[in-house]
Every structure is written in structure tokens, then in C-alpha cells.
Symmetry: C2
Subunit: 655 residues, 2 copies
């Protein structure tokens, strides 16, 4: 809809105003008509056009009859060369020949457009008709903003979003460009000015910078970038440069979407008109643009790895060597967190989760730092945050942080389609207490709120509180597959475990001591019956929420045992928990289970290989018994993988 | 989608479970198959049915071949008479004749349905397929809840939502009924139980009550209603009554939608299965229902009045008499707030706003108490809150309360359609500072957040800070009309004011002293030029946001003057501000303007009547000069009108 502005003219003095191309001035002709006026006529410069409503019945009746609702609609088709160079006058008549007065209007036409990349192609186009709103989907529109959560410095780091100024010119790359395009006379008519403005709420989430205009573009230094609007600065004048010019702005996102922030940011630019001395100016034209902050996006196991992270401790030398061999074989980078930094905390999976943010002009990885805060707590900020590697965290408020806040309890599925609804970026998976439990551990609300607010990977809450450690990665993972949905869900399965041991017994291998020990332990059987119930409950939720069939799921033979923790029975893996593996393309690094040997080969390894190798996967069994399994974790708990972003663009989601 | 449950059977012992009608048990036949099993066969009771996937190629091949993915899907078609009265057995074979083992399953079938009025007809239907989600619109679904914000008591009042128990049996009328329908044997099999559960977040917004089951329905006293879930009670066992029975629950909403609460409430009911001693039960079936809390809804001037509220003060006797005459003539009730309560604060419009909440089973008015808190502050709670008259308020947090928080600055439009989007309940209108202002007064964020969160009357923010008092009712109101959009927007207009005075002068009435005084005052003219600018800016916003044409707007002849408040120039009405009227159907109570007289009649009154009477409206001019106008308010500021709710149901909105 064309913006319309009500305007008053006057028969007693000449009125002046500035007109913005693409708008309409509506003049109520009755308001200023001298008493007894019955007709009127219009004269104007050639670049001024007008319409009259209601239209006179006789189109050729000049002068026009004045009705109580007579409205003059004025438009112009070219910008002015000098102030007030265009004219329009209205003459009022009593009877056709008797002139009662003239209302003169002097007009200055300018072109003003605040522009962004609303069509999401990486280029700031001119005056996109949809720039003032935001819509999801491939037919959607609206510009995109990144939270400037990396740090341009590697030493003496701070998040770029936490400093009010631009610390390096490279920081501009993390911001979205916005261009103010103006065209008109060398100067605006006296008293007019342009002003950029944002709301109080928006000011917490965005900063806008611009270069000083008295400096040559190629000669700009850091000090030449000034903040226009942002924290504590809701509105500021911006220069009108005259002629046909473009003024560049850089827009910086400060916060991720969360429970109380939907991610949308509106920036306004107004032309203010003077109202005479002693009175404030009033805006006569406002252009607005809307940005959506990129959500934080997780990467499923099916995406290509970039770097593998693992801790070096005083007792994990051979484990580290195995991981190194595997990673080198795959051709990825290995990053080792040394002991001075990890202080013996080996749970690389638990302290952090890798994700990324994405826009048409730029993308970079962002680490989510867990409120777990073990001895590894400084690692994400100190060692990962840097140029084009962002950082975000959430701190628990009046809530106890539990083991369920470790990010072994935060995973993401590969892309799925569920009852026709597609999740091309997959769905986040977390573990919580049973919904029916009267007490139990949960992931802190602040982290849950953050994850839900990202919207593009709608989370699924599983039940993981039945485990001592309580992480979903203790009973599930995803591996790539060439067929079906392009992946399989692997689930730990005591039933599958017992099947292996029974089968061994049946084939005459039952004399292996561990084997008969397991099969004769009724308490262990009862415990595993309970564990299978717990996993089956999760299996049913995953089938429903990811749209999986039984054929999409593989049961891995894993037994658990139940420990009495105070009065709450909770489970741990009985032997190394093979589902807690590292997935690097088609290479799997699986905890070595140390099962009974048949013909010199571990029967559990044989079984797992027979389940996974037909999918083209290669299984490497890694001994993590002493340094990880005995401390209630395995290969996955002790590692982390930075992966490439999804090729799917989050703004193309149909939400 | 049919709820499916993964289930394990065992060849070494009989398994027992409870089956809920309408679900499917899926049994992975491989899991418990004895080693070397190649075939299987099934036997079952007549009320047990099964399917096998993948389907055997030869449908008549009995026994069936066992594949790695063989899954048995079990359903039942009637409830059990006694526990475990239905059976199913799976026999495994090595070769066709060689039986390797039997897995026996004993089944108890029950029917469980947690029911609500999901089709919104005032009756709790049985197992509505959409009861677990919520959708807006005439084809929408999902149950509705009221915030129990009235007080069953008239003395020693507290909001019903603030007490953990039911204070009177009549309080049940304010709650939504929910029914647990069960059918099955007299008792659940040993160890099974039903439990109702809600999330932590939900527990802040809802309470569920039920009557004790050991008391005859006709004999229930207050003490016989107990809270099932709610604050600090996330889950509780509910009784299974046996046979075909219904258990009634009463659901009470505690909070209105707000910035951090979308109004949706989920209540779950689960059947828990014992997992053997020492282990917690696991839910084997969960039914859920979703409610949406009714928003607080405002009533535009076009709705029928019920009661008029006005203050009695020591100086407004004749004003009160005029109002009384007008209200009596219209046939509505007049409620007078006496001096012991108002303590001289006469601004009845400003302390409170009337609205209502609505559901298919019940509706009642709700007063929104302003954070203004003048001397009238106790009136809404002490005098209005009561049985079936609710109360809600918002307190400013770390924000200064300004004159813009008075509810003369909170209005609502009649129903409108804007660019094809319909607002059948109208749109809320508030006044704030100019978006481009570097400083200025605003409505407090808590109240703005509340208004926006109600969603059904999407607010419009006008610019009212140009006025000393700063209320939108100083320059606009709506009156009913027989034609066009069924209403007119009335706007104060200095231009229209000057037109009247000029016309008087022109017709020889210019000698009236006040008249020539006004026309010769250049300062006043400049001030009114500025005021017209401010009102025109609002006019343009209202035209756009309400989809109005100039023909939908009437300009009333009102002049303003500008006072210097510190350095901020702000406006007040020069003579009684006629747009600040009370609208009672087609009767208007308008501030008497005391304009120049022509032929013994006030020219301003004549002009206003000529504008409004053609719409079938009757104008009564009320002298409010001394007790209201001189204190910077008028008739509307000094009164309030409780109106009938809209016949349009808010849940039928397409949002």
C-alpha cells in the first residue's frame, strides 16, 4: 500500500513541504477553503500530478465543485534539483468566476530508501517491497542478521557483541550491510533531517554502525566508524549527502532468539519536518526494514566432520593414539586439549556443543558452552572462541545444574520428514526426567528455553534420567546409511545383548566364564528388563517424533546394570557401551566391548560389525576401558566433532 | 496416528501387560527368539488381533518365516472383564516341526480417555481426535479455559486464582470440565496406576481439582474437592474406578497470556506399569489435552452499554445530574463511586478498563486495573471485583509510571477489515511517544506486553505524548453509524475549528469578542498548526491500520493551546474538548464547548450536531467546565462504561 500523508494547505500563506517519491500527499480541500467556497481549480508544475476524490461527475467541469469530502491526492515523478522548485496552487471560487483565495504549495521531491538484502541473495537490492516484514520459506523474504558472537582478537578476547565499538575492520564481515539510498537536491530544505530509530526493546539486541562521511572510503580507519543506534541510543540523526548517493551501514546482532526474544529486529529511518520554532519536528515519511537473527544450529552425525576434539590426560595415552590413528585415516584434523587446560576433565562431549550461524553473506561455527562447568569450563572460551568462531552460553538461574546439563545429553537427528512435515536440519534431542516422575533431574530451564527458541530444529525430550550419568548418548546415536532415510538410529538393547550371549551358549561357547555368569544372574536380567523398558519408551518417542519405522533402527547388543543411588535405582553400562561411538563419515570409532571370544574374535564386535558393515560403515574398536568406561563414559563422551554446516539454509524452512 | 508401544515377550517366563484400546503393541519377534529360530506361529484369544510385518510372501505359509525385522502388531477390540483374561502365544520353530520355545503373553484390555470440550460447544465429548492440540478459527479445535480471576466472596475478597482451594461450589462454574472416562475390569492388574501430570512451567498457570470418590455426587461439600495437580504438585495418582465410569475434573486457569506465556496449557494422564520391585514404574500409555486460556478482551463504543460508572465529588453535583439524566434516558444502570472511595479522584476512565473473558461454557467481565494508582486505586479491587466480575492488573517494574498509563490512553476500535485481514473484535489503540523522539513518555512496558500478548485485538500505537495529559481519548473516539463500516472515527481538528470561527466572521458574527480574539492570535494559530500536524500523523496511522477512508472520519472543530512544560511544548484543549464524549448507543454525552452564540445557539454545538445527527446520533451537551475541563479532562475522562461482550467468539479468529 502506498504510504499516504494528510497535509493541510492555507489560503493565507504559502505552505512548503518535502515530498518523498512513491508516497501520496492527501489534502482535504475543505479544511482550508474560504467560507462560501463552492468550486476550486488546480495549477501545478509539470513534475507534480494530482487526482481529486470523489471524482467530479462531469470530468470536464473546471473549476471542480467543492464537496464536503473533496480530497486532493498529490504525487511527483522526479526528484527536485533545488529546494521548493515545484509548485501547486489551489484556487477557490464562490460562483464560477468569483475567486475567493489561492492556496500555494511549494514542494521539494526527494527519494529515500533504507535497503537491506531482503531477497537473501547476499546483495543489498534497492527498495524491496517486502523489506519491512519477514517471512519463512523458499518464497519468503526479509533480511538476516548474525549475532556477532565471535572475537576478532585471539588474545585478550571479548565477544565482539559485548563491545560498543568495532575492534577490527574484519569485524564488519560479521555484520549485515544496510544502505540508505537518497536522491534529491544538494541539501534538504531548511529544518528537515533524517533520523534512524529503534525501539527500547530492539536496542538490547542490535547495534548499527556507519563510517564518518567526511573520510574517503578507501581511507577509513577503525575510529571512523561510529554507532548510530544501539544500546542507550534509540535515535540519531543521519546525514543527507545530497544528489544521488548511498550511505552504508553495518548492522550487528547482539543476542540469539530466546524465550523472551523472537529474533526479529526492526530498524526505522524517518524524514522529520520542522513545525516552526518552539515545536518538535514531526516525521513525514518512515521507511523500515526487518531482520531475523540467525538461530544457533546443530550438526548431525551425517554431516562431514572438520575437526575432532579430544583431551589428553595422564592416563589416556593409548586411547589418544587410537583416536589419532582413526582421525588421520579419515583425513580430518585432530585438536588435543592439553592437561593444563582440561585439568583432568576428559569429557570433551559434555562441556560444549558445536553449532553454527548462517546468513546469505557469511557463516561461522559457534560453540555452545554448557552450564556444566567442570574442570574443562575455560576451554570453550579460552581455546575455541576466536575470529569467525563464535561462543554462546547460558547460566542457570536459581536452578541446580545436574549431570543432565552435560551435552552428551544434547544431540541432533539427521534430516527427517514426519507425517508430511519436514525437518531438513533435523531435530534436537535432549534427555530429561520421566514426565510422570515425582522427582528427578532435568536439563536446566535456561538451556531448554534457548534450544526451543531457535525453532529450526524443534527439540524432542527423551527420558534419560534412568541412567546414573543420564545422557541420551548412552543409549542412542545416528549413523549414515546409503538407503532408506539416509541414516539409521542405533539403540542400545539389553534384549539384543542377551540374544548374543544365549546364542553363544547354544553354539557351545557357553563355557566362557563371563558368559555363563551373565546368563545365570537373575538380578542382572531383571535390571536389563527394566532398562529395555526405559529404552523402548524412548524408542517409541523417537519413532513417532522422527517418523521412523523399525527398519530405520538397529539394536546394538549392550547390557546395563543398575546401581542403587540413594533410593533411586539408576543404570550404567555393564561393559563398554558401544552405542557411545564417534561417527566420522563412514568410519566409526566404537568402544571395545571386551566380550567373550569365539574363534579368537570378540562375539560382540562380530555382531556389531555384522549389523553395521552392510551399510558401508567401517568399525574400529577403541579400548577406552580404563580411562573412560570405568569412569562411566566412553569414546563419544570423551570426544567432540566440529562438522560442516548443512547445505540447507535455515530461512528456507516453512515454519 | 495410532500410539504404538514397543514390547518384549519372553520364552522363559509368561509376560503380562495392560493394553489400552486404540493403541498398538509392537513386539520385535527376533529379540526373544531362541537361537536357531527360523519360523514362528501365533495363537490368541478371540478378542486379540494381530498383524505381522513384513508380511510373509505366502500368506498361507504357517508357521511364518522369522526375518530379522519380523514385528508382531497386537490390538484388542474389547475391554477385559478380569485382569489378564486374554492371551497370546508365540511358538518358535527351528525347522517347521521342531518347536524351540513358547512365549506367552497375558493381556488386560482397558479403555482410557481424558476428555475435554475440544469442539467448543460447551459439552465434554468423548475422545475428540484433536483434543491434544489447539487451533484457531471456525474450523479450529482445542478446549478453552478461563483465568479464575473473579472472587466468589463479596467480603474479605481474594482472587479465586490466588487460593489453592475451592472457596464456594459456585467457583466450579468458572472452571472448565475435564472427564476421565475409563472402562475395564473392576480393578487394574496389580501394580498399575493412573497418574495425572503437568510440566513445571504449566504448574504456574493451572490447577486441576476433583471430587473425592468416596462421597455421593449429590452430597459433595467443599472439603470434598481436592487438588490433583497445580502449584508445587506436578503429578498425582488418580483413582481407577472400575467398570465403565467417568471421573470429573475441574480445571482452573491462573494467569492471562503474557510476554512469557502463550496461553496454552497441556494436561497429561498416564497409565503406569510396574517394572518389578526396586524399579520405578514406566508409563505405557499417555493421553493429553490442551487448553487455551481466554485472552482479556476490550469492548468498543459500538457495543451495547450495561452500566455507566462515574465519581461523585464535592464540586460535580450538576455534572452528575446531567450524566444521570442521560443514562436514565437511555435505560442503562448508573454506578456512582462515592467520595469515601474516590478521595476526590474523578478520573473514572483512567484508573480502569473494562473487558471480559469468554469460553463456550461461561463468560464474565474483567476489570483491568491501571498501574496509574491515583486516589481511585482501591476502587477496581474493592468495588468491582466480585462473583463473576474478574480483576487483573499489572505493576510497573523498574519503570516510571506516567500519565500515559492512564486508560484514557487505552481504547479499542470497532470491528474492521484491513487489506483483507479481519479484526472482528477490533484493534486496541494506545498512545506513546513519537518513535523518533529522543525522550518522551510511554505506556509502561508491562501493560504494553500484556495488551500485545492477548493477540485477539492486535494493538496500534498512536502518538499521544504531544498532549500535556497524553491520552488518545483527547483527540479521537468512535461512534456507531448506520452505513459504511458501521462506525465513524471522530478526530479533533483545529483546522475544522478555525473553519467554524472564520465562517462566523464571514457571516458577520465576527464581532463576538472571543471570536475575533481567536482569529487574531497568531501564536495560537501556530500552535494549532502544530497540533493539526500531530493529529494528522495519527490520522494517517489510523487510516492505514484500521483500513479507513477519509469518508470514515469526521473532523470535530476543536482548538488546542500549547503549554511550555519545562522545555517540552505540549497541548491542552482550548475549550471543552468535544471529542472526549461518552457514547451510549446512539446517545452521545458531549462536553459543552461554550462557543460563540449565533441566534442564541452555540455555533460549535450547531456544527457538531450537523456532523453527527445525520448518522442518527443524538447529541447532549454536558457542562463539565469547572469540575473537569479546568482540571484538563472532560466527560469521557470522568466516566467509564461496562458494555456487553461481543457476539464474536475469540477462538473463531483466524490467527
Amino acid at each position: 500500500m502506498v504510504p499516504r500523508r494528510s497535509f493541510t494547505i492555507d489560503t493565507e500563506k504559502t505552505t512548503r513541504t518535502t515530498y518523498v517519491l512513491g508516497t501520496e500527499l492527501t489534502v482535504n480541500l475543505n479544511r482550508c477553503a474560504p467560507p462560501q467556497s463552492k468550486f476550486f481549480s488546480i495549477k501545478c508544475s509539470p513534475n507534480v500530478h494530482y487526482k481529486i476524490t470523489p471524482q467530479a461527475k462531469d470530468r470536464n467541469a473546471v473549476p471542480y465543485p467543492l464537496t464536503p469530502n473533496s480530497v486532493l491526492i498529490v504525487t511527483m515523478d522526479a526528484v527536485s534539483k533545488t529546494a521548493n522548485d515545484s509548485k501547486l496552487s489551489v484556487r477557490y471560487y464562490g460562483e464560477k468566476t468569483e475567486a475567493l483565495g489561492d492556496a500555494l504549495l511549494h514542494l521539494t521531491a526527494v527519494e529515500i530508501s533504507l535497503d537491506v538484502d531482503a531477497d537473501r541473495d547476499g546483495v543489498v537490492e534497492k527498495n524491496n517491497p517486502n523489506k519491512g516484514s519477514w517471512k519463512w520459506g523458499p518464497n519468503g523474504y526479509g533480511a538476516i542478521l548474525l549475532v556477532n558472537c565471535d572475537s576478532e582478537s585471539t588474545y585478550k578476547k571479548t565477544l565482539d557483541s559485548e563491545v560498543d565499538e568495532i575492534s577490527k575492520v574484519s569485524d564488519l564481515q560479521d555484520m549485515s550491510k544496510m544502505i540508505l539510498r537518497t536522491n534529491g537536491p544538494a541539501e534538504l530544505p531548511e529544518g528537515y533531517k533524517l533520523t534512524m530509530h529503534i525501539s527500547q526493546t530492539t536496542s538490547e539486541n542490535v547495534r548499527v554502525f556507519r563510517p564518518r562521511t567526511n573520510v574517503q572510503k578507501d581511507n577509513l580507519f577503525l575510529k571512523d566508524y561510529i554507532m548510530v543506534v544501539g544500546t542507550d541510543m534509540l535515535t540519531q540523526k543521519v546525514p543527507y549527502l545530497g544528489g544521488k548517493t548511498e550511505l552504508e551501514f553495518f548492522v550487528e546482532g547482539l543476542h540469539f532468539p530466546d524465550k523472551d526474544f523472537d529474533g526479529l529486529i526492526t530498524i526505522n529511518l524517518s524524514l522529520l519536518e520542522p513545525c516552526g520554532k518552539d515545536f518538535p519536528e514531526t516525521p513525514v515519511f518512515t521507511d523500515k526494514v526487518v531482520f531475523h537473527v540467525s538461530p544457533w544450529i546443530m550438526t548431525p552425525n551425517t554431516l562431514k566432520p572438520v575437526e575432532v576434539y579430544v583431551c589428553s590426560t595422564n592416563d589416556n595415552y593409548s586411547f589418544l593414539k587410537s583416536i589419532k590413528n582413526l582421525v588421520e585415516k579419515c583425513g580430518y584434523k585432530l585438536k588435543i586439549c592439553h592437561e593444563y587446560m582440561n585439568r583432568g576433565d576428559r569429557w570433551m562431549q559434555d562441556e560444549l556443543e558445536f553449532g553454527y550461524i548462517d546468513s546469505p553473506h557469511h557463516q561461522f561455527p559457534v560453540v555452545l558452552d554448557s552450564p556444566r562447568d567442570g574442570d574443562l569450563q575455560d576451554f570453550p572460551y579460552e581455546s575455541i572462541l576466536g575470529p569467525d568462531f563464535g561462543y554462546v552460553t547460558r547460566h542457570a538461574l536459581n536452578e541446580e545444574v545436574s549431570s543432565l546439563d552435560s551435552f552428551g545429553n544434547l544431540e541432533v537427528s539427521p534430516p527427517v520428514t514426519v507425517n508430511g512435515k519436514s525437518y531438513p536440519l533435523g531435530r534436537i534431542i535432549i534427555g530429561v526426567a520421566f514426565p510422570t516422575a515425582t522427582r528427578g533431574r532435568n536439563m536446566t530451564q535456561v538451556v531448554q528455553d534457548f534450544l526451543w527458541a531457535q525453532k529450526v530444529q524443534e527439540p524432542i525430550a527423551l527420558y534419560s534420567d534412568w541412567l546414573v550419568v543420564g545422557h541420551v548418548d548412552e543409549f542412542m546415536t545416528f549413523v549414515p546409511a546409503p538407503d532408506r532415510k539416509k541414516f539409521r538410529l542405533l539403540l542400545a538393547s539389553p534384549d539384543a545383548g542377551y540374544k548374543v550371549f544365549k546364542s553363544l551358549q547354544n553354539n557351545g561357547h557357553g563355557k566362557a566364564e563371563s558368559n555363563s555368569f551373565i546368563l545365570s544372574d537373575k538380578k542382572l536380567q531383571a535390571e536389563n528388563g527394566y532398562v529395555q523398558n526405559c529404552i523402548d519408551w524412548n524408542r517409541d518417542v523417537l519413532k513417532k517424533e522422527l517418523g521412523l519405522d523399525d527398519e530405520d533402527i538397529i539394536d546394538l547388543p549392550i547390557l546395563f546394570k543398575v546401581l542403587e543411588e540413594k533410593t533411586d535405582p539408576r543404570a550404567v553400562a555393564y561393559y563398554p557401551d558401544m552405542v557411545n561411538m564417534i561417527v566420522l563419515g563412514d568410519q566409526l570409532g566404537i568402544p571395545k566391548p571386551f566380550g567373550p571370544k569365539v574363534n579368537g574374535r570378540c562375539a560382540l564386535e562380530t555382531e556389531v560389525c555384522s549389523l553395521l558393515e552392510p551399510l558401508g560403515l567401517k568399525c574400529t574398536f577403541i579400548d577406552d576401558l580404563a580411562p573412560y568406561h570405568k569412569l562411566l563414559g566412553e569414546v563419544h563422551c570423551g570426544s567432540n566433532v566440529l562438522r560442516e554446516p548443512s547445505p540447507f539454509k535455515w530461512w528456507n524452512l516453512e515454519l
